[in-house]
């Protein structure tokens, strides 16, 4: 059993196709692992063993008939709990959706199912993806598999921890301000946020609609490219979906960075960055240099303005996106109110957690009469400037290299008391979302406590292939990465 768990997704499906293993074996292996680890880690909100076994049987038959030949056929996958899954509880880790069973699946999940992946459950997250630690979940915090006293990061903390703990072979997460890349970094797995519009948002429960993107959390870069290739699609149901013809991402799994121009923003390595993180990320840059990349420091403008811009836009959009949770059509409704507006207020006050309320309040304020121009419109203008700063950078460089987060995973219970300090942790990831760019997080070492550190590569819009090629090359040069105990 344990041997199965060590396989990557692509390795697993190869063995299944070769008849060495079955999809059912794979599902049983992850559920055995879940039985052992889940109590300590709490990666999942919902698990569906019975459904997964039924899917696995069906998929296995279709593989044997030669109907399913792709590289994810028969592979167990975990889905972040903000993606709708038909007939399966979808909570966003919030009390307000505690009993919501969608009648439809998100497009990304449908794409995976088409590829023969087996959905085993829904992973824990920060409530409505608002947070960086998975501690704002209404269903309890997820623990970091590397050290259970630490957080797994967030908001896709359940997905990252599940991959790191072999409680699945890969997972989907969503990234609005770093929510895939940062937990990937904290949990020592590969995570990628694609260019805005690459993966359909249909069925993804919106936080900041102009920033949200679904992406993979995987054991290595090969899996990551393979998953992204499967979930990327033009979707007529998502008006912001981009028509792309270059989604054959696995073609970019090439061990070569010769002549690639990589820019390192000086501001990403200044004050606030943990020295150990700095050292390991720069060492990774050096490795790429040794492999033939051209590495250069440069000044990326406006770095410090990304966070206030982001929180203005994301919270404004969130305040509107979360209005539909009102106790009328689905989810939680208070029992303590007779009158309509009291029902709304009680339902929402009881149904949302503190961080969600904080963001809804701020978002409502910045859009309110008299403040729209000063806050919201101003932020949209700064967003345009930030986008321009990246355009200028990508005129000179193929990609930007930096850390994912200023530190490794903090201890549980240390982050939520000071929101602004917590938000500052998003400094290296957030502008990627504002500018719609792709970004990938690849493990590049551990700190003295043994906690993983992530390397971030940021590309221009639609330049995922360059990122995948560089990340793959780095991964090959770096060698094996993983927990010693695993």
């Amino acid at each position: 059993m344990n041997d199965i768990l060590k396989l990557t997704a692509v390795e697993l499906s190869t063995k299944i196709k070769a008849g060495e293993l079955t999809a059912v074996d794979a599902v049983e292996a992850v559920f055995a692992q879940i039985a052992e680890k889940e109590e300590d880690l709490h990666c999942y909100v919902t698990l569906d063993k019975e459904g997964a076994l039924a899917q696995a049987k069906e998929v296995q038959e279709r593989i044997e008939k030669g109907e399913l030949t792709g590289p994810l056929a028969g592979v167990p996958v975990a889905i972040k709990d903000n993606m709708c899954t038909e007939g399966m509880l979808t909570t966003c880790s919030s009390k307000i959706l505690g009993n919501f069973i969608p009648t439809y699946s998100s497009e990304a999940v449908l794409n995976l199912q088409k590829a023969g992946a087996v959905v085993i459950g829904k992973t824990n997250m920060d409530e409505f993806a608002m947070g960086s630690t998975t501690e704002t979940s209404a269903y309890g915090a997820t623990k970091n598999p590397w050290n259970t006293e630490h957080v797994p990061g967030g908001s896709s903390g359940g997905s990252a921890a599940a991959v790191a703990a072999d409680e699945c072979f890969f997972a989907l997460g969503s990234d609005t301000g770093g929510s895939i890349r940062q937990p990937a970094s904290y949990c020592g797995v590969v995570g990628m946020k694609p260019t805005y519009g690459t993966v359909s948002r249909y069925g993804l429960i919106a936080y900041g609609s102009s920033l949200d993107q679904i992406g993979p959390l995987a054991k290595d870069v090969t899996d990551c490219a393979t998953i992204l290739e499967a979930i990327a699609s033009y979707d007529e149901k998502d008006s912001t979906s981009q028509k792309r013809e270059d989604t054959d991402f696995t073609k970019a799994l090439v061990n070569d960075v010769k002549g690639m121009r990589i820019g390192i923003p000086k501001d990403y390595f200044s004050e606030g960055l943990d020295p150990e993180v700095k050292e390991k990320v720069l060492a990774a840059a050096n490795l790429l240099k040794e492999k033939g990349a051209i590495i250069e420091e440069f000044d990326l403008a406006l770095v410090k303005y990304a966070i206030p811009t982001y929180y203005t836009i994301a919270d404004a959009e969130a305040s509107s996106n979360l209005e539909r949770f009102d106790g009328v059509k689905y989810g939680y409704r208070t029992e303590s109110a007779e009158e309509l507006h009291a029902m709304y207020k009680q339902t929402r006050s009881e149904g949302f957690g503190a961080e969600v309320k904080r963001r809804i309040m701020l978002g409502s304020f910045v859009l309110s009469s008299g403040y729209y121009d000063a806050y919201y419109l101003k932020a949209l203008k700064v967003k345009a400037l930030i986008k321009k700063a990246f355009d200028e950078a990508f005129a000179k460089y193929d990609m930007i290299l930096g850390p994912v987060a200023p530190t490794t995973a903090p201890k549980l219970g240390q982050s939520l008391s000071d929101p602004i300090k917590m938000y500052l942790g998003d400094i290296y990831t957030i502008s990627v979302n504002l500018a719609g760019l792709p970004g990938i997080s690849v493990p590049c070492g551990t700190d003295a406590q043994g906690l993983p550190i992530g390397l971030q590569l940021i590309g221009d819009c639609f330049a995922e292939k360059k990122l995948i090629q560089a990340a793959y090359t780095y991964e090959q040069a770096r060698g094996k990465f993983g927990r010693e105990d695993a």
Partner: protein, 96 residues
């Protein structure tokens, strides 16, 4: 430049956002909002005169559907999620 959020403002935003905050939560919200606004006020340092606000990253435009009926009746499944339902409709406190 420190922002001070009044009780009235918190009350008003609570009405807009449909959140009923306890007194303790209100005090916290006043502080949090003031801190965040102080922080956001940094954007004032940037000259954005003449900059076009960017609501969408890409120039994508004119994404349309044809006027063709594609959806059937799924009311039974959808209403299963309703907190309260009657005669195929969502039941809410009196609005009239």
């Amino acid at each position: 430049m420190a922002n001070v959020i009044s009780d009235e403002t918190i009350e008003y935003v609570g009405i807009l956002a449909k959140l009923a905050l306890s007194d303790e939560e209100k005090e916290q919200a006043k502080k949090d909002m003031a801190d965040m606004l102080d922080y956001i006020d940094q954007l004032g340092e940037l000259d954005t005169e003449g900059v076009e606000p960017m609501s969408h990253i890409f120039d994508t435009c004119n994404v349309f559907r044809e006027d063709v009926v594609t959806n059937g009746d799924d009311s039974e499944n959808m209403l299963k999620n309703a907190p309260e339902e009657k005669d195929g409709m969502y039941l809410v406190p009196r609005t009239f």
